[in-house]
């Protein structure tokens, strides 16, 4: 085996290794979802965000427009403060956009769904989204349903 062939084979090996890394990064992981541009940040307060995590998606009309960048708790109002980073190309969202926390699928991950309002002014960096709807906690929902059901059967008697 002469040196040239060895070097060619090693070159191919390194190229294959880097291609595999590239494939893992682009095709297997969520790298292509990350965006380089910083975008702008908006704040929303929720009564209950259970299940939402930092880097959960923020979507509008089903299209991902950003991600949750920070979650905090306000000790005075007992609300959750969620900061979302919206990509800068989506800079025409109206000021009265509302935010709600939804679940992808029955048991899937939580995400924030934005719904556009009718205001002519747009959302800017560090603006607050005033209309929010908390995440639906399955246990609470079932509890309420069971309560209703028991009440209903009492009425009949």
């Amino acid at each position: 085996m002469n040196t040239r062939n060895t070097e060619i084979l090693v070159g191919l090996f390194v190229a294959a290794g880097l291609a595999a890394l590239f494939m893992l990064a682009m095709k297997v992981s969520n790298l292509n979802v990350y965006t380089n541009d910083e975008g702008y940040e908006v704040i929303a307060r929720f009564d209950d965000i259970s299940g939402l995590k930092v880097r959960s998606p923020v979507s509008m009309a089903g299209v991902r427009v950003g991600q949750v960048s920070d979650i905090n708790f306000d000790g005075e109002t007992f609300e959750a403060i969620v900061k979302m980073r919206i990509e800068s190309k989506y800079n025409t969202l109206p000021k009265d956009t509302s935010a709600a926390i939804y679940t992808a699928g029955l048991l899937g991950e939580k995400y924030i769904g934005l719904e556009a309002g009718g205001d002519e002014k747009g959302l800017k960096d560090q603006d607050r989204i005033k209309l929010t709807q908390s995440s639906i906690v399955l246990e609470k929902l079932i509890g309420r349903f069971v309560d209703k059901f028991v009440e209903g059967s009492d009425d009949k008697k």
């Binding site: 390194v14 890394l21 494939m23 095709k27 992981s29």
Partner: protein
């Protein structure tokens, strides 16, 4: 009674002596790395024997591990009606654990043992002493290129293993068992994180590469220069590096995830 205590002390002392020698050798090898820039053809030569020749076993076993994961994962997930998550399961187990660990185990068996045998035979046939006679430092000429080649090759091999495994899982899950192709990839992309999963897997494989080549090179260099000594050193390389891989994997996993 006293004899057994003496025995214990003796083996303890031997262990620490060897550990000390291994650490000194590691420092010497790492000290030789900057000089490798001018002698990079040596590293390429070693990358051929350490990396390229290990490629076949890595490709084949990666493919089969991925296919088995696809098959087993499907059988379990289908009970919960969650067979769409097959891609997540295959990709996460490969990228986080099986890719680095199994590739490193195979690497220890395929490349590590060969390194030890080669260096041990060089020592037994006094080639290393001959180099010293010619004022060539055998550590820098023989050990450093091999160490560097293992250090570079291991992450590449682990990445190839994981990538091939994901494709193998796709082949079984989508091709044979009828999972939706789009769900396989999109759920995988949603769940696998570039920093938490892929990056940590690569860090793991770099650590394993360093440890396996370090053990292999040390065992060869430290071997008793007889045919029996070399064969023992080769066995020790495989056993010690496998144990080191599995132990370190636990520690790394506990730190990372």
């Amino acid at each position: 009674m006293l004899n057994s205590i003496q025995q214990l002390g003796h083996s303890g002392l031997t262990f620490f002596q060897r550990l000390g020698r291994a650490c000194v050798l590691f420092a010497q090898i790492v000290g030789g790395i900057p000089g490798m820039v001018w002698r990079f053809p040596l590293v390429i030569q070693q990358m051929y024997s350490v990396g390229v020749l290990s490629l076949l076993i890595i490709l084949v076993s990666g493919l089969f591990v991925g296919m088995v994961l696809g098959l087993q994962g499907y059988n379990t997930l289908v009970d919960f009606g969650a067979e769409e998550s097959l891609g997540v399961m295959v990709a996460l187990s490969l990228v986080r654990e099986l890719g680095p660990v199994v590739a490193a185990l195979l690497f220890a068996g395929r490349a590590g043992s060969a390194l030890t045998a080669e260096i041990g035979l060089m020592k037994a046939t006094e080639q290393l002493s001959a180099m010293e006679m010619m004022a060539i430092d055998p550590i820098r000429r023989v050990l450093t290129p091999r160490f560097l080649a293992g250090f570079i090759s291991m992450p590449l091999l682990a990445a190839i293993f994981s990538a091939v495994g994901v494709i193998g899982g796709n082949f079984v899950g989508v091709g044979l068992l009828g999972v939706d192709d789009g769900a396989y990839w999109s759920q995988m992309q949603a769940a696998v994180d570039i920093y938490d999963d892929i990056n940590n897997g690569v860090i793991k494989s770099i650590v394993f590469g360093v440890v396996v080549t370090w053990i292999a090179v040390f065992e060869g260099y430290d071997a008793v220069p007889t045919s029996e000594g070399v064969s023992r050193a080769t066995t020790r390389t495989v056993v010690h590096s496998s144990l080191a891989i599995l132990g370190l994997d636990f520690i790394l996993t506990a730190i990372m995830f």
